[in-house]
Each structure stands twice: as structure tokens, then as C-alpha cells.
Assembly symmetry: C2
Homo-oligomer: 180 residues x 2
DNA sequence: GTCTATAAGTGGATAGAC
DNA sequence: GTCTATCCACTTATAGAC
């Protein structure tokens, strides 16, 4: 695994992520990716079977990390905290991509899979309470920690984002949705 | 104005919005729009100069409504309330479109114009306070009222969404950002 | 206002040489 | 592992008849 001689596959992924972030998934062509790498389109096809494979490979790590998260049996607060850690440490750019290309990516298996996991995370986050307000608050908490994702630079310090997310999820004053 | 004999232009807009919502802007072709309308592509070009013109015409009303909103000299709470009214009464589907096709639409003049107006609205919403937390809260308030936009049906009752938005913007306990 | 026909270009993808 | 050359489906857009 670590003994490979070239890193072209990784370079393709890096450049593709760059380009998709700038112009969107459908707005970026394989020709452009190849040009920026100074190779030909055909070379890309040695490393990836299709264009969809390229973007899927980009989403892969994020999907796996979400699965890890969903397996833990922690409560809402710990869940959103761990989620914030993932966003901050590694997956910000990928999340930004997903968020700005929702329509384009929902037509792709890996994209639909991510949407599914986010839905499950959302359910776990609102815990037992299924009322509309808790539902909305759980969504907003997720948005709070990922709003920064990849637009020119981090805007909200990550600790502030997490604090707001936690407060939005369970506003002080009202005890968190422990009743019922 | 009210005396036109055909409504083809409006029918094109209706079908285009439908299709863009289902498959995204770049994922929908003029051929598909024409087919769903039982006309030919060429007919579309009688009513709109380009594909971009079609989507721009869809965003137009929303842009104008935002300009109206920005001209009023009201405070944050009134602003978000009025915004929620617009989302609820007329522009939900359009906002959903914008939100799910951010990348694709930023390459379009009308789309970039909308992003600009949202930025100004966000600034007005956080009023004088420029600290990271107020900034994030202002963004979240906007998200709160528009999260429902066009996915199969309204999820959060609009009054609940507005209440949460107002609370997120200025959590009770802390007085709203009225001082400097 | 809508049609047929077609231009002109791009896209993703493959074959086969090196 | 990368190249040249090519294919073909499909796109936006236009010309001109009806």
C-alpha cells in the first residue's frame, strides 16, 4: 500500500476537489482536470473508471467517518461535538462540496448515501423528541458546525461554532429534551 | 399586459422550476423541458433568449422582493419576520433551487446577485455586533426560516420556524444586540 | 408562435501505440 | 502509466418554412 511509486491518483483527487469547489461538479470537465495536472484525459481513465468514480472517491472518507460516528452509542451533545471535530479536522472542504452541489450529487450513489447518513445523524441528534421544534433545532445544530466549510477561509472559530450548536440544540433555561 | 392570448411563457417557467428542482439546473436540458411541455426546443427560444434567461426569470421575483426588504429601515427581528413571510408565501421553491444549486448558479449573473443580497441581509440581521457568535447566529436564523423550502412538503410549521429563528438570533436571557 | 432541420461545440469514454 | 486519435451522444443555439 505504502510502496507505490507514483501519487497521480492522489494528485487527481486533489485537483478535482479544487476544481469542483471552484466551478461545481457538473461545471468541471475531465478536460479541465487533466489540463490543470498537465496530463491528458485518457490518463485519468487509467486511475478512475468514470468521472463519477472520482467524486465518489472524494466522498468516501467522509462516508466512512459518518458510519463510525453513527455506531457510537453517545448522546446528542457528544455526537455533535464529535461531528464538529470531524468537520474541523479533515472534512470541511468535502462538506462544502456536498452542500453546494446537492442537486448534482443526489444523482450519484455515493451522494445519496451521504444524504442518508446525514438523515440518520439528524435523527440521533434530536433523540426521543419528535416535535417540530426539536427537529428544526437538531438540523440547525448540524448547520452551525458546518457553515464555515470551505469558503475562502474559516469564518467562525470552531469552538464558537460548537458552543452555538450546543446551545441551539438545547437552549439553556429549558432543560434539554429529556422529558416524555 | 393582462391581455396576452397565450401563457406559454409562464408554462415554461413552471415546468422549468419543476425540472430544475428534480434534477438540478445543469442536470436538466432544454430538450427535457420542451418534451414535458409537448413543444419543441425551438419554441422555447421564442420565449427566452438562452437557458440562463429561463433560470434568471425564475430568480427575478425573489431578487426584487429581497431588494424591497433591504430598503426598509427595520431592526433584525422585524427583518427576519418579513423574510419568513416571503419564504412562506411565495418563494420557497425558488429558495430551495438556489440552495441546492449554489455552485451552478454562482456562474450566473442573477445567481451571484442573489448571493450578494443575502450577504447584505445577513449584515443587517446581525446589526452592530460583528463578533463571530452574532455573525453565526444571524446566518442560522436565515437558515432556520428557509430550511423547509421545497422538499416534498412543509416540515416545520412556519410559526415554529420563525420562533426558533428569533430565539437563535437573540437567545432569551441575553438581551438582544441593542447596545452598540 | 411553433415547427423541421441543422449547425457548432462539448461532454464522457474507449482503442491501441508506446 | 501516459499518450494520440477517435467515437458518439447530447448540448445550446440558429435559420428559415409554415
Amino acid at each position: 500500500m505504502a510502496g507505490r511509486r507514483t501519487d497521480t491518483r492522489e494528485r487527481i483527487q486533489r485537483v478535482a476537489l479544487e476544481l469542483f469547489a471552484e466551478q461545481g461538479y457538473e461545471g468541471s470537465s475531465l478536460r479541465e482536470i487533466a489540463e490543470r495536472l498537465n496530463v491528458t484525459k485518457a490518463a485519468l481513465y487509467y486511475h478512475f473508471r468514470t468521472k463519477e468514480d472520482i467524486v465518489s472517491s472524494l466522498l468516501e472518507g467522509w462516508g466512512a467517518a459518518l458510519d463510525d460516528l453513527l455506531e457510537r452509542e453517545t448522546g446528542p451533545a457528544e455526537l455533535i461535538t464529535a461531528y464538529a471535530g470531524l468537520v474541523e479536522s479533515r472534512f470541511g472542504p468535502v462538506i462544502g462540496l456536498v452542500q453546494r452541489n446537492t442537486s448534482a450529487l443526489k444523482a450519484i450513489a455515493a451522494g445519496a448515501g451521504l444524504a442518508d447518513r446525514m438523515l440518520r445523524l439528524h435523527e440521533r441528534l434530536r433523540g426521543g423528541s419528535a416535535d417540530p421544534e426539536s427537529d428544526l433545532r437538531a438540523r440547525l445544530a448540524l448547520v452551525a458546525v458546518q457553515l464555515n466549510s470551505a469558503e475562502g477561509g474559516p469564518r467562525t472559530p470552531s469552538d464558537v461554532a460548537l458552543a452555538v450548536a450546543l446551545d441551539v440544540l438545547s437552549p439553556d433555561g429549558k432543560a434539554a429534551g429529556a422529558g416524555t
